[in-house]
Symmetry: C2
């Protein structure tokens, strides 16, 4: 072998070692700021999302899926959970603020958050008023500008449908009490399974080539700029943080939301962010670049340049996750006693 070839091989080996070491450093840096991967191991993931008091089972998930897609949970019979949390569209509705019953807009002009990976949030709703998905699921079904169905109506619809009753018994036992909270619990059990691992997770889990160089650079910029101070954990968001900490949002005139009574807001997840525009609590920003730069000034009090925003966006694209395959359900038939839809 000629010396030049040997040198080439040596350089290549060095370069591979360097890249590998750089990736190790970046993984450590990401973990140090609190970014976490969706566990690749299913048992480990289950430990995070499952509740031993109400364990996730195939029967509950299948039933919860039907309920999630069933528009008969709304007063009118035409709005389902999936209408605003569309699993085909990143788990939200793609419009600035939710439109619900009678074409009512959300009164605070709040943007529908994604349901994907919401199991990892420490609080639900923009003002974090709900501690978990079982509680959260009760809200929009009853809210007048959303699905507008009183709890009793929802319960009466479900218990009047023999196949649903049979499926609740199969899922929970013959003595199940098919209450409104139980219906919401079952929807939440389905929602817990809506976890979308991405190439970023593969990277954090040790596949050093899962991100390309530009994405690694973007991750590094994301961390260096301080984005991970709020967008952290497995959800890369989903915790309560101070609202408009460093400045005012330039579209603050849309809606009257000011956070919770302590001025805190639930940070949105950045997973599948390219699918969940428009952005912010009032859905007034349509491009990621603009959202990134605005966040710098509102939350971090810094200027993020166009090129830095571009780098961060390149990283964020790698958070697009692998969605669980969902067979579109066949919903059970109502009976003669099923309460009819009403449109007022």
């Amino acid at each position: 072998m000629r010396l030049s070839k040997l040198i080439s091989i040596a350089l290549l080996a060095t370069s591979i070692t360097t890249v590998s070491a750089q990736a190790d450093d970046l993984i450590k840096k990401a973990k140090d700021v609190g970014l976490k991967a969706v566990p690749a191991d299913k048992a480990e993931l289950m430990k995070l999302i499952d509740d031993p008091k109400d364990p996730i089972t195939d029967k509950k998930v299948e039933l919860g899926k039907k309920l999630f897609f069933d528009p008969r949970l709304s007063r009118s019979g035409i709005i389902s959970c999936n209408t605003c949390h569309n699993l085909a569209m990143g788990g939200d509705d793609g419009i600035p603020a939710a439109i619900g019953h009678k074409w009512m807009a959300n009164p605070h002009h709040l943007n529908s958050p994604t349901v994907y990976n919401s199991v990892f949030f420490t609080a639900q709703f923009w003002d974090g008023r709900s501690p978990h998905l079982s509680d959260q699921a009760q809200g929009p079904i009853q809210a007048v500008p959303e699905m507008a169905a009183p709890a009793n109506l929802v319960k009466e619809r479900i218990v009047s449908i023999p196949e649903y009753v049979a499926e609740f018994k199969a899922a929970y036992g013959d003595d199940v009490n098919i209450s409104f909270p139980k219906i919401a619990d079952t929807i939440a059990t389905f929602e817990k399974t809506l976890v979308t691992p991405s190439r970023f997770d593969d990277f954090l889990n040790g596949d050093k080539k899962a991100l390309n160089d530009a994405e690694k650079k973007g991750l590094n910029t994301f961390i260096d700029k301080g984005c991970a101070s709020c967008h952290t954990g497995i959800a890369i968001g989903g915790t309560m943080q101070p609202f408009e900490l460093a400045g005012k949002y330039k579209f603050a005139n849309i809606g009257d939301f000011k956070g919770d009574d302590k001025g805190m807001v639930k940070t949105p997840t950045l997973r599948n962010i390219t699918e969940t525009g428009p952005y912010y609590h009032n859905g007034a920003i349509w491009t990621l670049e603009e959202a990134i730069k605005e966040m710098g000034s509102i939350q971090l009090g810094i200027k993020i340049t166009d090129s830095e925003a571009g780098e961060i966006k390149t990283f964020l694209k790698a958070l697009k996750g692998r969605k669980p395959a969902i067979i579109y359900p066949q919903l059970p038939e109502e009976s003669a006693t099923t309460p009819k839809p009403t449109f007022d």
Copy 2:
């Protein structure tokens, strides 16, 4: 073997032969009045539903499915074809009359028909104004009280989404013209695959035990009462017939529909009829028994008794078909140039 046992066997054999002969007679009787099965043989089915000039392919069907489920085909971005033709609910919306853009009711108070098996209809819409699904699909997307999206807006949305453009090229070739009619054609190609063979088809195709005795009796009553004079062919409906031929519908005051300009109406399919209530063009009847009896007096000028209506209903339940499994799609991301949703 004792004589009594021999006699038993002989009687059983006679009885089996009789049942078999009776089934043969009933199958012949059903076919004689024009009832037809969905072919069990896939090639034979394809001959009926495929168009050699625009053949059904997996790529077109998958793309058409995405478009069918994509609410961005509506002005607001929140109403899809599936909103009113919900494939989870027998292919319709389960409410009396369609609710669309801005919560507008259908101006003629017309009930949304099922999309399942609509490929077998000889005319589309209640007044039959459309000859086939490709033409039909253009209607509700543009109709102001439905999806309210002008053809140009739909086209601009689709061509602004790179993944859709790539899928159209993959389905039709690189020189495809992604026009509004092409978008509708692709939706129609997906809809053509929404065929739901039932136990009734198995019976007509020769499985004599596919219907039980009560269902066979119901089929016989269905034919004897004359129901098959309109509800015939593979669709068991789907052709133009005189509207209110023998009498006035008792809920005629709901809506102003009078059929087409010759007083004809498209007979609804009876396939999956237990899933597609409420019934009639104005969706004013909620139970099958009542619908059956009313049809007797309105269309046939006869009285159908409660027990006959019960028999016919028992048969109609056997028309509940096996739905094609549909993986809920993941819709492609819009781009910066995608026209925004509007709610006015």
